[in-house]
Amino acid sequence: MTFTIPIENGNGVKDAEADSQRTLYPYVTGTSVVAIKYKDGILMASDMGGSYGSTLRYKNIERVKAIGKHSLLGASGEISDFQEILRYLDELILNDNMWADGNSLGPKEVHNYLTRVMYNRRNKFNPLWNTLVLGGVKNGEKYLGMVSMIGVSFEDNHVATGFGNHLARPILRDEWHEDLSFEDGVKLLEKCMRVLLYRDRSAINKLQISKMTEEGLTVYEPYSLKTFWEFSAFTNPTVGAEGSW
């Protein structure tokens, strides 16, 4: 039985059924994305997991995609909303390409477009439940920015989403510097991803690194990080704990 709750929506009053179309909580989610600027461009890393609540359900989801010739988009949060965003951007880039006039949308333009989209959806109380990382290189200029699901947006030399903000960013703040080589950049990202793998419950050990430079995009094959579990404290975990025997 439906009853009307008036919701002002620009089109007048909607009833409770239309209300159920709004995003209320996420279902299939991706966890952190970490990205840094390095000497030649941008490096972005994420794992390939899609969690369904606390179940690590999908293990082959690419959460970093190329946008046009110049940009990389990584997302955490609701995977279906990420796919929706990819559709919006696909249309945007298609129309941009059709002009064929020597002008193209660079990472800054895409980032701002996404900020507008995310903020507008937030204002309608129907957010795209994602935190997005947008990085790219155009005309030698490196760009790296982030947009959250409520439309907060900024640029920085290194960004991360979700748990990455708490676990990876402190590492990056200490160890990131201008003009990292590719090898150092990857090592730094691996260090962050390893910490996330140990500590983030929704992380899986299958990560994918993508690189964007002036020449273009390279997406590397997924691989796993080596982990170490032979700490002596793990052999007898309850030793010394309050109330244990």
Partner: protein, 274 residues
């Protein structure tokens, strides 16, 4: 062009495949006072003649800033020009807001042309009676376009529209090949010289013309009277006070030797056109 039975509304074709109302709209552009545009690789200069209704009134504005990187000069029905300038400003600022990046001028010009085309295909509308010289920047540098009431647009190295623009065009045709590599100062000088051609004998004073510049590192702005006068002084040997026609000045071979003196031929210009 004589009146005929196919020119009553814009949605009637003539048997020879013409839309007379659109062509009449382009006539309106020819009646307006001259506007000139030229570009180099990195700069665009727009200049126009300041014509006032009478001695008592001020002159109408014919050059508008659309954005830091786009300007437009109009000829024809200035009211239509004003409305289109407002549209251009709106498009430009909306793009800047969404993408934090300037709208490439080539894309703006297409939107303008599409807007003009609509008016050539609706029985309840009329074409815009204004020609627009749009100068602006995009990733590949400086560009100059001409938008006409028909909905067509063309890219130019240099162009002139409005009354007595043929004189200016002749001057520009002689010199346009060098414009691409011109410096900013040379470009401005050429623009003012082209304006002088349209005056045909009237003394060139800085109060008679408006000049605007924009460039890759230079946002759109107007030149002040002093700067314009300085440029004029470099080629006007003797500043004359009376209207002595053809006193053997720097470049005398302006074509259109028809003896129309300065102000007299404008009596058949409708008051709404400038």
């Amino acid at each position: 062009m004589f009146r005929n039975q196919y020119d009553t509304d814009v949605t009637t074709w003539s048997p020879t495949g013409r839309l007379f109302q659109v062509e009449y709209a382009m006539e309106a552009v020819k009646q307006g006072s001259a506007a000139i545009g030229l570009r180099s690789r990195s700069h665009v200069v727009l200049a126009c003649v300041n014509k006032a209704q009478s001695e008592l009134s001020s002159h109408q504005r014919k050059i508008f800033k659309v954005d830091d990187h786009i300007g437009v000069a109009i000829a024809g029905l200035t009211a239509d020009g004003r409305v289109l300038s407002r549209y251009m400003r709106s498009e430009s600022i909306n793009h800047s807001f969404t993408y934090e990046s300037p709208l490439p001028v080539g894309r703006l010009v297409v939107r303008l042309a599409d807007k003009a085309q609509v008016c050539t295909q609706r029985s309840w509308k009329r074409p815009y009676g204004v020609g627009l010289l749009v100068g602006g920047l995009d990733e590949s540098g400086a560009h100059l376009y001409y938008n006409c009431p028909s909905g067509n647009y063309f890219e130019y190295q240099a162009f002139a529209i409005g009354s007595r623009s043929q004189a200016a065009k002749t001057y520009l045709e002689r010199r346009f090949e060098s414009f691409k590599e011109s410096s900013r100062e040379e470009l401005i000088k050429d623009a003012i010289l082209a304006i002088r051609e349209t005056l045909q004998g009237e003394t060139l004073k800085s109060s008679l013309c408006t000049v605007s510049v924009l460039g890759v590192d230079e946002p759109f702005h107007f030149l002040d009277q002093e700067s314009i006068q300085k440029v004029i002084d470099t080629f006007e040997k003797v500043p004359e006070e009376e209207e002595d026609a053809g006193e053997g000045e720097a470049e005398p071979e302006a074509a259109a030797g028809t003896a129309e003196q300065g102000g007299s031929g404008d009596q058949d210009v409708a008051p709404m056109e400038m």
